[in-house]
Point group: C2
Chain length 331, copies 2
């Protein structure tokens, strides 16, 4: 039995529940807020669905000491991620963490240092790697369907909706590039198989309907190894009446063809057929379930610790570039 | 009757023929190469289709002096565009010019100077402004369908095919951003209604099948006035079996919705309906025919001289940015 504690519930903590359905090897034992004023009481009934009598702590450090969980899911205010991630790792617990792992390079380094001496497993919630469409795109690239990757265009577009107040302040929110853009950044890293060299980014908070400093639009352009290049576009202007919350896209251009995920479907054009072919996708998986399997030595999680650090670092550097209007190199 | 001479035939001179069909007010009187080793003899039979006995000159300056045309269509090697454009304008002829107008800021300035003292009409072959899909997108933006424009993503993707040898050398080719990217740059300028502030670009000539320095991939990211931003992706990796030669796209994100041209269709998502709506487009027009109408005082060409200079300047600055790996500001 894997005992799981939760710290915070401000992002995608739901992935821990959806990934636990049908499993009898886990139990949610306790929850605590991870940021001041964070409300996590609403998580109690959801935890109970998986059995046991989950406890509520107002102090997550006390919870870690008392409950001694095997695994902790962190999902507090984004600007406070690093602090709780560090505490979890220093307690020797496995970590399933909302992205980004941290919102500054200094904080990220402290999390990485804690991870390297903890001897535990960790994964960030880069959950698109578990989606059938994105995963099948990656598989096709591995099988050579489009040759060598040369160019990638990633798009994230979300509905604004009603955003909680912590997202209206940069200090607690961390920035649109680190919160939304990071997914596209992860796709670029994953699909290209290359390393980031530099990033130039831009952003604007105009027309955000009173959401403080929340950036409504952002662009980032990456240079990668082997003269590969990638663009990322992120915005909160997907209209309320759009069918999907997110208009997520990735277009990957190779020497022998192009593959893209658009409108939640996967399509390919290469020398094998005239025009675009719709590609049948693998079923969606649950990222958290794969992480549990990895802890139990029964499988490999789609997101590694290294993937989690790479995407977070690149997202932070993109954010730094947008904030400073300077190109930022990856040292 | 408008007497038309041609200088060069290395790009889209065909737009002059397709735009002259059904008109009895024009005649093609002569042709000359505009670059050394340029072959334009193949244009003679096409010119004859419109009546008369077109002449061939080996020296375009002699042609201009002897034929005294009303209008000249320039389409020589791209790196030599500025020189012939300047000669045409200094001869006091109207000018319909393959883009870009020039391939360096100094050359562009000399063309602009010649234009300002010539008192003639001119337009660059930014022919997407005459396409129904792109024009209808622009009309919908003008009518407020998506509110204020905040973000634009432009894409140009061409088949490589067999490229002539002059495209394999930067000196005669000018660069992929100035030749292919300029269309996307023009859409960004046109659809946003904003001015360019800076550009950061990247490019790669790898995997170009022996095509010298021809860049196979390029990205450019623009900052515009009012914190509007735009990305441009250009490549020659559209596979041979693709249905269309070009996979041209523009996505325009506004405060009240998103409009895009993709797969040669126009679609819109805003508050008026759930999901994407396909939009019926205006019929395609012929850019050259509109230019003839403008010369005759019967209409307005979809591309103005100012549009032509704006797009060329931005394309040159994007090319400078890619060449230097530096962000380039617009004066």
């Amino acid at each position: 039995m894997i005992n799981v504690c939760l710290i915070g519930g401000s992002g995608h903590v739901g992935l821990a529940f959806s990934g636990s359905h049908g499993r009898d090897d886990i139990r949610f034992t306790a929850v605590a807020p991870g940021s001041s004023h964070e409300n996590v009481a609403w998580l109690m009934p959801r935890m109970k669905e998986f059995g046991g009598e989950p406890k509520y702590y107002s102090d997550y450090k006390k919870m870690l000491l008392t409950e001694k969980p095997d695994l902790v899911v962190t999902d507090n205010y984004f600007g406070d991620h690093a602090e709780v991630n560090k505490a979890v790792l220093e307690s020797g617990c496995h970590l399933f963490a909302e992205k980004p792992l941290a919102t500054s390079l200094e904080l990220l380094e402290s999390v990485q240092k804690a991870f390297l001496s903890a001897g535990v497993q960790m994964a960030a919630m880069l959950n698109y790697r578990a989606r059938g469409s994105f995963y099948t795109a990656w598989q096709m690239i591995q099988s050579g369907s489009i040759g060598e990757i040369r160019l990638l265009n990633a798009q994230k577009s979300y509905k604004l909706g009603d955003r909680p107040s912590f997202m209206r302040e940069r200090k607690t929110y961390g920035g649109t590039l680190t919160w939304v853009g990071i997914h596209g950044i992860d796709w670029i890293s994953w699909m290209s198989g290359q390393k980031f060299i530099s990033v130039t980014a831009a952003q604007s908070s105009l027309h955000n309907h009173g959401a403080g400093t929340l950036e409504m639009t952002a662009l980032a352009q990456f240079r990668l190894t082997h003269e590969v290049m990638a663009s990322l576009s992120a915005d909160y202007h997907n209209p309320p009446q759009a069918i999907l919350h997110g208009d997520d896209r990735i277009r990957i251009v190779g020497t022998d063809g192009v593959i893209e995920v658009i409108n939640d479907t996967l399509r390919l054009t290469n020398r094998d057929a005239a025009g675009w072919q719709q590609i049948a996708c693998q079923p969606d998986q649950e990222l958290f379930s794969g992480f549990l399997d990895q802890i139990e030595g029964k499988g490999i999680c789609r997101v590694s610790a290294a993937d989690s650090f790479t995407a977070t670092e690149a997202a932070i550097r993109a954010q730094m570039s947008a904030d400073s209007a300077q190109t930022i190199s990856f040292s």
